[in-house]
Amino acid sequence: MADTPSITRDDVAHLARLARIDLPPESLDHYAEQLGVILGAVAQVSEVATADVPPTSHPLPLVNVFREDVVRPSLTNAEALSGAPSVESERFRVPRILDEE
């Protein structure tokens, strides 16, 4: 990561697919430029992130936080569906699903 990464229009399109954001084609170059600048700036982290430094994922060193296997009240069906854009037969309705069976 010594070099400032260059982000291409195609990279942006790929990231947008992964992130499920239907970006207009005319915006890709602008995002590519901005992401490149930001990544160039943040890339400095590699200067000090040497192999001997352990990563920290959680700010507090807690472990083994568990919940008892005891039922708590669920939402009612009406509450569960209350914010949904589309419902049918007590379920969330979505347009047809592509992909696999």
Binding site: H58, L60, V65, R67, R72, P95, I97
Partner: protein, 509 residues
């Protein structure tokens, strides 16, 4: 119904003569915890849609997960039973991908830090040289959460293709799953399908023995993905594998592996290359079809789940759980084999039929072990297979079978009647005694009706009667058969024979 056409395949014997298969099996076990993996919603099967959901398992903004202690304990116990090492420290990770049945659009799972790793499970398979033990090495067992259930509406088939829209029920979303992944399983040769089936069977028995899941394949509480690859010789590097999903019965495990071997062989023979992809097993047509090709879309962007803290099971906890494990299945089989005086092969039949618990329970209720095995691995296994369900899920219990055997032993039922009683129990007609009463299935022991039936039979076959009188006692079988038929099997054949010979004044030699 699907109309998938089988691709070109190669004859199985030809495949195994020229190719070396390598298996990989991924089994998902849905735990039988009272609540979900990360929230307090109940896990009851069959509840009304979207009534066992809350902000957490619906993935509503702001909600946070909290780990179910019993799920962690169950994962450790499964790991220990599989001779795995238990992680001293591990984390959950997020597996990021979009799918509408997954509320958060990431699955909270474990990635490079599974809670259990490096174990094995020995399975017995019948080979041409007798019973052989295959050691299946376990790579990992990790915790994750289930997805919701989608039903596809409209279109001609009710399947996803051609559907107009879909409806989602999130009751299942967040139910704890343990995923158990084998290392590549080499050296199974032509027994690959049998080994796959035996592994899933043994794993199911092991998990059932731990009491952490009901492991019902047809309800999806045990699911299997079968990975298969072929190579020319065992010294070649691993071939490209396919991952077959939707393999929802023991029989399907075997059939799907076998089919994939024959299909891949045909691809390779034609000079093609096997595509690394997900394939779907179709129980009805017995083929797999291409699902989704592995691609850069499978960049799951795993990272440690920041909303959950690491799990560091103390060694004391792990050792306590190890000490409290039920008897190891292998040890148990050795013990029962000795107690019942049966061979390795006979024990393997019991285990592979998924009948060990049932036979043991039936014997414990007083039945002869031979009779118990005969029922469970014979007639009942056949019926379960026909119905496409597990033996455990037939509507008959060890108590029922033991009762039938008691009635047989007392002479109240003969073999044929016993089958009818079993049939009645399976048909939901009640307990064995209720079936006997309702169907009037008692052995006819009153001499009067039997003698009348014998006279009718003799009158109908005077030539046979003459032969018997002439000393040809062997001919008596035909008359006994006719009497049995006339009494619809409700007579004791030995008694009919004795009465017949007495009637004709003949004695046995």
């Amino acid at each position: 119904m699907s109309t998938h056409v089988a691709e070109t395949v190669v004859d199985y014997d030809d495949v195994v003569a020229r190719f070396d298969p390598v298996l990989g099996l991924e089994v998902h076990v849905e735990l039988g915890t009272v609540t979900k993996m990360f929230c307090g919603c109940p896990t009851d099967f069959g509840a009304a849609p979207n009534t066992q959901v809350c902000p957490v398992c619906l993935g509503l903004p702001g909600a946070l997960p909290a780990v179910n202690a019993v799920a962690v304990e169950s994962a450790i116990r499964i790991g220990l039973a599989l001779h795995c090492s238990i992680a001293e420290w591990c984390r959950f990770a997020r597996k990021n991908y979009f799918y509408p049945d997954m509320p958060k659009n990431f699955q909270t799972s474990q990635y490079d830090e599974p809670i259990a790793f490096d174990g094995y499970l020995d399975v017995e398979v019948e080979t041409d040289e007798g019973m052989r033990t295959f050691r299946i090495e376990i790579e990992r067992a990790h915790m994750e959460e289930d997805t919701g259930k989608t039903s596809h509406q409209g279109g001609a088939t009710g399947r996803i293709h051609g559907a107009d829209y879909s409806l989602i029920d999130y009751n299942r979303a967040g139910i704890p799953l343990i995923e158990i992944v084998t290392k590549p399983v080499p050296d199974t040769g032509k027994y690959a399908p049998d080994v796959a089936r035996a592994y899933v069977t043994a794993l199911r028995e092991l998990v059932r023995g731990l009491g952490v899941s009901d492991v019902k394949m047809e309800q999806g509480s045990l699911r299997c993905d079968a990975n298969v690859s072929l190579r020319r010789t065992p010294s070649d590097p691993l071939g490209t594998r396919t991952e077959t999903k939707n393999v929802n019965s023991l029989r399907s495990v075997e059939r799907a592996v076998r089919y994939e071997m024959t299909r891949q062989a045909a691809v390779l023979d034609a000079g093609g290359r096997v595509v690394q992809e997900t394939r779907h097993w179709h129980e009805d047509t017995g083929v797999t079809t291409s699902g989704r090709e592995k691609s850069d879309a499978d960049d799951y962007r795993y990272f440690p789940e920041p909303d959950l803290v690491p799990i560091a099971p103390s060694r004391e906890w792990v050792e306590d759980l190890r000490a409290a494990l039920p008897e190891n299945p292998a040890v148990r089989q050795t013990r029962l084999k000795a107690a019942w005086g049966i061979s390795d092969f006979e024990m393997a039949s019991v285990v592979n039929a998924g009948a060990l618990d049932l036979v043991e329970d039936t014997v414990a209720l007083g039945s002869d072990q031979g009779a118990a095995r005969k029922w469970w691995t014979g007639e009942l296994a056949r019926i379960a297979n026909e119905r496409g369900v597990e033996l455990h899920d037939l509507p008959i219990t060890a108590t029922d079978v033991a009762r039938v055997e008691t009635l047989v032993g007392a002479g109240a039922l003969n073999d044929k009647l016993a089958r009818q009683v079993i049939e009645g129990v399976l048909a939901g007609e009640g307990t064995p005694d209720e079936v006997v009463a309702a169907r009037g299935l008692a052995v006819v022991s009153d001499d009067g009706p039997l003698l009348a039936a014998i006279d009718d039979a003799l009158a109908a076959a005077p030539d046979v009667a003459e032969k018997i009188r002439g000393g040809k006692v062997a001919a008596a079988g035909a008359i006994v058969g006719a009497v049995m038929k006339a009494t619809r099997g409700q007579a004791d054949a030995a008694k009919v024979r004795a009465l017949l010979l007495e009637r004709l004044g003949v004695t046995e030699d």
